[in-house]
Symmetry: C2
């Protein structure tokens, strides 16, 4: 019998979950819940209904894992502890600094109700975190580097669009090649924010707007752009639509470390992602962890879990015997 | 209290384990066991004794994890099931085809005696296997590629040295750049053995040997070289010692996959290692899994485990809280 999945929130991530379920024959989408008017939400999977979020709890016996696709700022801090009372859940909470607090809230709720709740699943936090942990455990004497991109940063694109005179815009985070090469060489460089990433903006200005003023305002924006070398390109609305409508992303996690009695041997461990679609890849990670959540709860585990707590075998639809014979 | 480690077998791997223990303050080397005359084996750690392998079992109450550093061909198939009766053990059994059989033997012995036995720990099998599993679980619709090198292959170097007229030799396995680039492009190429790797040999010939005959014999050797483009370089003994005495290795695990309702988005997941010392890196992985073996047995788990069965948090000396706060 397939693992029955519910999706709460049908934006880019929710749609990505729907697509990922289609690729996994041991999983089945049974319901999508939305805060919008259900009849206004069209999904891709034939025969599956869209319900108001108010109906979610009433369907708890028909769903093995509920995947929460809300935002980290205001949705998930409320939703994850609440729905972990009724469902095994997975979320992609990505406010790194608030993970300990979120974990505590979710753990209490999930434990009290015998559910497994996986938080902060995706690629960062998620696969990047895992690779930081593995490489740190293997090479305790070393240095970590994380680079992001080339990819679209939603937060920085939003920041551009708030500038006066800007009609639309997209921002790409780009790792600096020479910094990547320095890290790969094993020289353990100290890198400033500016040395690690470039920010490139594609901006559609309102008619008659002062372009020099917009460029200056973007480049000097604290937190977002002031600490970076920022490139501002003004383009037409058509150009933005034709060439910048995707949501690619990716990045690199590198650990450079030493072994030997006197640290005489160097090692570089590198993990990288090159993603055409950030939300679809994130969704694909989440669906694998939904499988793990279901299995772990079936075995009697409860409480809040992160990717650090999940033995890799739980993620695969293959049996332990098959994994040992074919992937080990 | 530190985790008390014993090492059985003091070759390159055993010495690497000793060095790795020095880098991990929660671990302590308590004994080295050898088949050689103990007084002939000099180790690096002050105050630690070398014993005959015959004394190992008598020290079972002083050792939390015994690390088995023998070979996969004849040592480990016997040693791992035997010592799992008395100790938590870790081995680096790397005969991929025989893993299921080895697992069954070790599992029976470890379970019957309440021990945890980790097998096939290292980087391939080991970290490469993990990365194959993760990427397959995330991207079920895709294709795996593993490249090895640039690095020294012990088996192929031994094969060269068996050729008549060869005094010494070293073989490097080198991934073909254009094949790597084709894989990274997402084109999912079908690659033959010859297209993926080059084999480069550095050979010291006996005086007066027929070089053309040696080169021909190496290049046509079935299984080892016949299916590859092989380069044979004749060099002096001094050159071999000066420039080819290291044991570097590494490689790449790449999965290229698709997501989206119609597979319209491509993704590349890549894990790579660049290692100055193959045995020291392998040893560093093993020591992290020794920590996991100790903890898992303390929690009441028993039996044979592989890297697939170990939740990542067990590998780190940090607490779950610290990991969530700093690495997630």
């Amino acid at each position: 019998m397939a693992i029955r999945i519910g999706i709460l929130g049908y934006g880019n991530l929710g749609k990505g979950i729907e697509c990922a379920i289609k690729q996994n024959s041991d999983m089945e989408l049974v319901a999508v819940f939305t805060r919008r008017a259900p009849e206004s939400v069209k999904i891709l999977t034939p025969g599956v209904s869209v319900y108001s979020v108010d109906e979610a709890v009433s369907k708890k016996d028909e769903i093995d894992v509920l995947i929460l696709c809300g935002g980290s700022a205001t949705d998930l801090p409320v939703q994850t502890p609440e729905y972990a009372k009724y469902f095994n859940v997975v979320d992609s909470f990505d406010t790194h600094a608030k993970i300990p607090e979120h974990f505590a809230n979710v753990d209490e709720s999930a434990k009290a109700n015998g559910k497994v709740a996986m938080i902060s699943v995706g690629w960062d936090p998620g696969m990047f975190s895992l690779n930081r942990l593995y490489a740190n455990a293997i090479l305790p004497d070393g240095k970590d580097y994380t680079f992001w991109g080339k990819g679209v940063s939603q937060g920085h694109s939003d920041a551009i669009r708030r500038v006066e005179g800007v009609k639309d815009g997209k921002q790409y985070t780009i790792p600096v090649d020479s910094a990547l090469e320095a890290v790969r060489s094993g020289s353990n460089p100290e890198l400033t924010t500016r040395q690690k990433h470039i920010r490139e903006c594609f901006v559609v200005a309102e008619e008659g707007a002062d372009l020099a003023k917009i460029e200056q305002e973007i480049k000097s924006m604290p937190n977002y752009f002031a600490d970076y070398d920022t490139i501002v390109n003004f383009i037409s609305e058509e150009d933005l639509k034709a060439n910048h409508s995707g949501i690619p992303h990716g990045g690199f996690v590198i650990r450079s470390g030493q072994t030997g009695w006197d640290g005489e041997h160097k090692h570089i461990v590198e993990y990288s992602l090159k993603l055409d679609s950030n939300p679809e890849f994130t969704a694909s990670v989440i669906v694998a962890y939904a499988r793990a959540a279901y299995r772990m709860q079936k075995e009697g585990q409860t409480g809040c879990k992160t990717v650090f707590d999940v033995a890799p075998a739980y993620l695969s639809p293959c049996s332990a015997e098959d994994l040992r014979a074919h992937l080990l």
